[in-house]
C-alpha cells in the first residue's frame, strides 16, 4: 500500500446550528486503500462525505485531499450519491444522467470521444437498453446503476459510494467486486453503509461513527450498534 495520504481529516469539527455532528475528528487514508464507514442513521456518515466533497466546510480543523486543502481537485472524486439526494421526478433520460459525468465541456455538449465513454459506461453497467428511458421510471437499484455509470465516465482517484445497499442489487455488488479487482494502487474507495453486505476482503478497513468520532471496528463494534 502506498504511504501517500489520499485523504486526511485533522481535528475536524462540524455542527448543524447548535447540534455537534463531528468533534475533533482525525482520519487518514492512503492511496489504494478501501475503507467501509458504518454507523447508525444520524451518526455523521453523510456529513463526513459532504465535508470530503466540499459541500460543507468544517468549522474547525483541516481537510486535505491529494495534499490540497481547497476543492480544486474535486473532479478527481467519483461520487455515487444516495438516490434520495436528487430530484427523482425530474424528466431526464438515463443517457442524459450518465452524460453529466463528462459534461465539463462547453455548455455540456459531448464530442465523439465523450459519447463513446458514455456508451461504454452504460454497457459496463448493463443499462444501454434503457438509455432513452426516463430516470423517474426506474427502480432504486437501477437508479444506483445509472449513478455508477455516470461516475465511470470520468477518471477518478477516490470513489465514494454513499449507502449503495439502500437498494440491494446483485449487479451493483458484482460491479463493486470487479472494480476492486481492477482498481490501481493510486485509487481509493470509501463505502458508506449502515448495513454490512461487504466482505473483509473487499474492505479490509472498517470504521464506525460513534458520538461524532470515527473509531476502528475493533473499538466500536458496528454490529453491536444494531443489536446484531
Amino acid at each position: 500500500m502506498n504511504d501517500v495520504a489520499m485523504l486526511s481529516f485533522h481535528q475536524v469539527t462540524f455542527s448543524y446550528a447548535r447540534t455537534p455532528v463531528l468533534q475533533q475528528l482525525d482520519f487518514s487514508m492512503s492511496m489504494g486503500e478501501r475503507v467501509a464507514l458504518t454507523g447508525p442513521n444520524g451518526s455523521g456518515k453523510s456529513t463526513f462525505i459532504r465535508l470530503i466533497l466540499g459541500f460543507l466546510k468544517p468549522q474547525k480543523g483541516l481537510i486535505t485531499f491529494l495534499g490540497k486543502t481547497n476543492a480544486t481537485r474535486r473532479r478527481e472524486i467519483a461520487y455515487i450519491p444516495q438516490v434520495s439526494n436528487v430530484d427523482t421526478s425530474f424528466p431526464i433520460t438515463v443517457e442524459e444522467v450518465v452524460a453529466m459525468g463528462v459534461s465539463e465541456r462547453f455548455l455540456g455538449h459531448l464530442d465523439k470521444k465523450q459519447r463513446l465513454k458514455v456508451r461504454e459506461a452504460m454497457e459496463y453497467m448493463d443499462i444501454t437498453s434503457y438509455a432513452n428511458e426516463l430516470f423517474e421510471t426506474l427502480s432504486g437499484g437501477f437508479r444506483q446503476r445509472v449513478f455508477i455509470a455516470r461516475a465511470l465516465t470520468h477518471s477518478w482517484k477516490l470513489f465514494i459510494l454513499d449507502e449503495p445497499y439502500s437498494y440491494v442489487d446483485q449487479h451493483i455488488q458484482r460491479v463493486l467486486t470487479r472494480m476492486i479487482e481492477e482498481m490501481g494502487k493510486d485509487k481509493s474507495l470509501i463505502l458508506v453503509t449502515h448495513s454490512h453486505e461487504f466482505t473483509e476482503k473487499q474492505f479490509p478497513r472498517v470504521m464506525c461513527f460513534h458520538q461524532g468520532k470515527l473509531l476502528s471496528a475493533q473499538t466500536c463494534d458496528p454490529y453491536a450498534e444494531h443489536g446484531l
Partner: protein, 295 residues
C-alpha cells in the same frame, strides 16, 4: 363584443376566421399572432418552472418586478424606458433569487427569503405608484390585456422568443443537469452559480415582458397549468415543452374566440379553459386506470 351572439357557432367560426384576415380589424390578427409568440416563451420557460418546482420563485420574481412598474410611473418614463425599467428590475430580482437558492441556504430559510423578496418588490412598487402625481394604476400589469397588441409589442415578443429558444437550446443539457443534480455538476467543475444566474435571468426576462402584456395573473396560470396537463401524458422534457406550447396557444386562441362570442373577459376564459382541460384529463386518466385494474 367582436362577434354578434348567435346559436350558429359554425357561422361564428367562419366570421372569426374572416375577421382574422380583415385588414381593417388588425387587433384580432395581432392578438392571435401574440398568442403563438407568447406560447413559445410560456411553453419553454413554464416547462422548466414546473419540472423544477420553482413556481413560487417565479411568482416572487414577477411580483417583485412591480417595483420596476413603480419606478417607471414615478420617473414618468416613456413606454420603451418603462419596459426597460420593468425588465431590468425583474432580472435584478431573478439574479438575487438565483443566488439565494444556493444549496447552502436551507429550504425553509430560502422559502422565507422568497416571501420577503416578493413582498418587498410589490410594496415598493405600489408605494412609488401612490407617490406618482395624477391617476396611475398597476392594474394593467396585474391583469393585462391579451386582445390588444401593437406591432412594436409583437416585435419585442419575437425578439424575446428568439433569445429564449437560442439560449435554452444551447444550454439544454446544462439546465437539465442543473435541475436534476446540481451538486454533481459542481463536483465536475462546472460553474453552477453562473448557469443558475443565467437561468433565472432568462425566466425574469420572459416573465417581465409577458406580464407587461398579458398580466401577472394570466401569465402565472399559463406557466403552470398547461405544463401540468401535458406532464400527465408526456415524459421527455423536450416533448413537454413542445406540447405545452401548442396547448397554451390553443387555450389562448380558444379563449379569445369564446370571449368574443359571449362578451366575457378573455383572460378569465383562458384560465378556466386551461383548468378545465387539466381536470378533464385528470379524470380521464383516473377512470382509465380504474378500468384497467378491473380488467
Amino acid at each position: 363584443m367582436i362577434l354578434t351572439p348567435s346559436t350558429d357557432y359554425d357561422g361564428l367560426m367562419v366570421t372569426f376566421i374572416q375577421l382574422l384576415f380583415n385588414p381593417s380589424v388588425p387587433f384580432l390578427r395581432n392578438a392571435v399572432l401574440a398568442a403563438f409568440l407568447a406560447s413559445i416563451a410560456i411553453g419553454l420557460v413554464g416547462s422548466f418552472v414546473v419540472v423544477r418546482k420553482i413556481s413560487y420563485s417565479v411568482g416572487a420574481i414577477t411580483h417583485a418586478s412591480l417595483m420596476g412598474v413603480g419606478i417607471a410611473f414615478f420617473l414618468n418614463l416613456s413606454a420603451v424606458y418603462s419596459q426597460l425599467a420593468i425588465t431590468l428590475t425583474a432580472i435584478l430580482f431573478g439574479v438575487l433569487i438565483a443566488l439565494l437558492s444556493e444549496k447552502t441556504v436551507s429550504y425553509y430559510r430560502y422559502d422565507r427569503l422568497l416571501s420577503i423578496v416578493w413582498a418587498l418588490g410589490a410594496a415598493v412598487g405600489i408605494l412609488l405608484i401612490s407617490l406618482t402625481p395624477g391617476y396611475v394604476s398597476a392594474e394593467s400589469y396585474l391583469f393585462g390585456n391579451i386582445l390588444f397588441f401593437s406591432t412594436h409589442e409583437l416585435l419585442i415578443l419575437t425578439v424575446v422568443d428568439i433569445i429564449l429558444v437560442i439560449v435554452f437550446s444551447l444550454c439544454y443539457r446544462r439546465f437539465t443537469a442543473l435541475s436534476f443534480d446540481e451538486e454533481y455538476l459542481w463536483l465536475r467543475g462546472v460553474s453552477v452559480r453562473r448557469y443558475r444566474v443565467l437561468f433565472f435571468s432568462l425566466v425574469a426576462l420572459c416573465m417581465s415582458i409577458l406580464a407587461s402584456y398579458i398580466g401577472i395573473i394570466l401569465l402565472l396560470a399559463l406557466m403552470t397549468v398547461p405544463v401540468a396537463t401535458v406532464r400527465m401524458f408526456s415524459g421527455i422534457l423536450r416533448i413537454v415543452i413542445l406540447r405545452s406550447s401548442v396547448l397554451t396557444a390553443f387555450y389562448i386562441i380558444s379563449g379569445i374566440y369564446i370571449s368574443s362570442i359571449f362578451d366575457l373577459p378573455a383572460s378569465s376564459i383562458i384560465v378556466l379553459l386551461a383548468i378545465l382541460g387539466y381536470i378533464l384529463l385528470f379524470v380521464y386518466i383516473a377512470i382509465r386506470q380504474r378500468m384497467s385494474k378491473i380488467q
